[in-house]
């Protein structure tokens, strides 16, 4: 089977690592060879972060490269735009409409780019832009954007919600489990 390439992009501290951990739990159980790659350390301090998830019958490189991503799951608009060149021509972008100002915007050197989701769509990208933050807050925490996005992703790819919930039971601390499952369901229901 051909390798499927997923990128999870966002801002350090947004919880991209939990999203890749959940996928990392589910995919090997389905019999796939899997490689997941992320960079720890300096970039995690509020910088632009990216995780590569690759699965298929045999995966060599741990890295997704330009023009290769079947899916980009973006936690933030500007990061969706930043990594866009990695998307395949017929790839799909799932992005949160959330905006987080980077330091050049905070210091007033640059303005946050206007209407990015529209510009991305105009560039011909198959884009799904969702107000994920509101759904996460509805589930109980702004930190649950990661699991809401996974819910959307699961619906889109036909991956079983039960597998995600089992993974949540195994990986997430008990007191946050129900909140994360609610967040997942809210994401899964976006495309009903």
């Amino acid at each position: 089977m051909k390798t499927t390439n997923i990128m999870i992009v966002g801002v350090g501290g947004q919880g991209t690592l939990l999203a890749s951990r959940l996928l990392g739990h589910i995919l090997p159980g389905m019999g796939y060879d899997v490689k997941i790659s992320e960079v720890h350390g300096m970039s995690q301090r509020g910088g632009s972060v990216v995780t590569f998830v690759r699965y298929g019958s045999e995966v060599c490189s741990p890295i997704v490269e330009k023009g290769e991503a079947d899916y980009i799951i973006a936690f933030e608009q500007l990061e969706a735009a930043r990594w866009l060149s990695y998307l395949k021509k017929d790839g799909k972008l799932i992005t949160s409409s959330q905006q987080i100002d980077p330091m050049p915007v905070i210091t007033g050197v640059r303005a946050y780019p206007e209407s990015l989701p529209d510009r991305i769509k105009q560039a011909g990208v198959d884009e799904l832009c969702i107000d994920v933050l509101s759904l996460a807050k509805k589930a109980g925490s702004s930190k649950a954007v990661n699991v809401v996005l996974l819910g959307v992703f699961a619906k889109l790819t036909g991956l079983s919600p039960d597998l995600f919930k089992e993974a949540i039971d195994l990986i997430v601390k008990e007191k946050f489990r129900q909140m994360n499952k609610t967040a997942f369901d809210l994401g899964y229901a976006v495309l009903q």
């Binding site: 790659s37 720890h40 910088g47 995966v59 060599c60 741990p62 735009a81 021509k89 330091m103 050049p104």
Partner: protein
Amino acid sequence: MKKLLLGNEAVARGLYEYGCRVVSSYPGTPSTEITEFAATYPEIYAEWAPNEKVAVETALGASFGGVRSFSAMKHVGLNVAADPVFTASYTGVNAGLVIAVADDPGMHSSQNEQDSRNHAVSSKIPMLEPSDSAECRDFVGVAYELSEKYDTPVFLRLSTRIAHSQSLVEIRERTEQPLKPVDKNPKKYVMTPANAIPKHKFVENRTAAIREWAENCSVNTVEENGSETGVIASGTCYQYAKEALGDKVSYIKLGMVNPLPIKLISDFCKGRKKVYVVEELDPVIENHCKAHGIDVIGKELFPLCGEISSNMVKEKILGEKIESGFSISDLPVRPPVMCSGCPHRGMFYVLKKLGVFVNGDIGCYTLGGAAPLNAIDTTVCMGFSVSGLHGFLKANGESKKSVAVIGDSTFVHSGITGLINMAYNRSNGTVIVLDNSITGMTGHQQNPATGITLKGDMTTAVDLEALCKAIGINRVRVVDPQEIDVVEKVVKEELEADEPSVIIARRPCIMIKKAIINPPYKIDPEKCKKCKMCMKIGCPSLSVDPENGTVRVDATLCVGCGLCKKLCKFGAISEN
């Protein structure tokens, strides 16, 4: 059972399975998690040492003491450990000793891009290089076998992409290793010239013997696909080549990068039209081939700087240009920043305001050099801030407007000796120890100043004030970096003093249990005069509302440190 493991976790699994009993390391991205995972096994004694030199000496001592031992570090850490490493090559081992070194091509989290394979060549220590997590685990076993068979420490070289990638590993049980008897053996262990002279010959003979082993071993493999084109690669570069070229070419995959085989490579190259060496950073394999008259193509195609990728391999070898379909250009960058509520922020605000020359060091606080604080003027290596300040003042005795800033962990790592030099050789500089009670940048590790061990036990904490005084520093002051008025006054006073001084800026890192976290602050848009004074500290919780130009607080990020409130002259910022 197959499990998805991080490369670093797989190395730790290897340590467990192959009977390692003592691990001593200093944290350094991308090597840190090896030691953290090793510490989760009760069978392994694991510790954070004050620096890599102490760590390797501890591991070597444990090997002499008869148990399989290990030390992990990042590439620059190996420079610190080089002294014991080069002579450990001569003494050899009793029980196996493996030293993992993680290089960082692309400099994701490092101050240089050195290639550790050169250390292996010059110290004459064999080096294995895994290409995925399964090999990370397996090669630990091969390394211990080699170490004990050939009486040598063995390097395990990782790169960021191997250390921080997860792939599947078949989990096995631990095999306990019997304790090796300890003999008094000065000819082996006492490296005086009389003993070291024959030992050097031993090392040269050993390298020849291991090279012979490398000609026909399990870790150097040929994948013959009947192609006239050959590729020689190791580690992550092998994966990039395989991804790009599949079975269109034949491969030698080198699991051992020092010493390199000669016959294996020359036999492989015979009859092929072209053989490419795909390696990141220095042309180590390429130079070896060329030195032995083997015609290969390497750095004329591939760069000396940065990472290689499978797209690059496709482009350079197949001439295929990869086009990416979409792009939106001219986006603002998003560099890493100090966290909301970071205790370092107040200190850098003051240093910038005072306009002093700041000798920086390695840690989260290196981010104080970024906009808008721009408050660091030098960053070289662990400990440079203190010794560099001393030299700077010897050159510019008149202008004292210079300080060193160094974190607690880095100070213990290699700042103390610099401070001794300042006291002993009488410079009048001011060293600011940013004591946030943790090793921050590498992901919050304990250190000798925190009073907690790697395994989580309570222990003695270095008394920094008493230590500085014992060194001969009379002026030691402790401040809370959040109290910027006090900090400014104290820094000014110490800059005036005619003797060396230390200011300990003490407040716990915002990411650890001890952190002081308050409810988020709020800004009254009626009172905000849009002066943007509060924006000068570069807090990620603050942003300008594009609607009306007033500053607003992101309540999901703000931890209520109150630094912005101190800067607001109009009383617009308050506790919620």
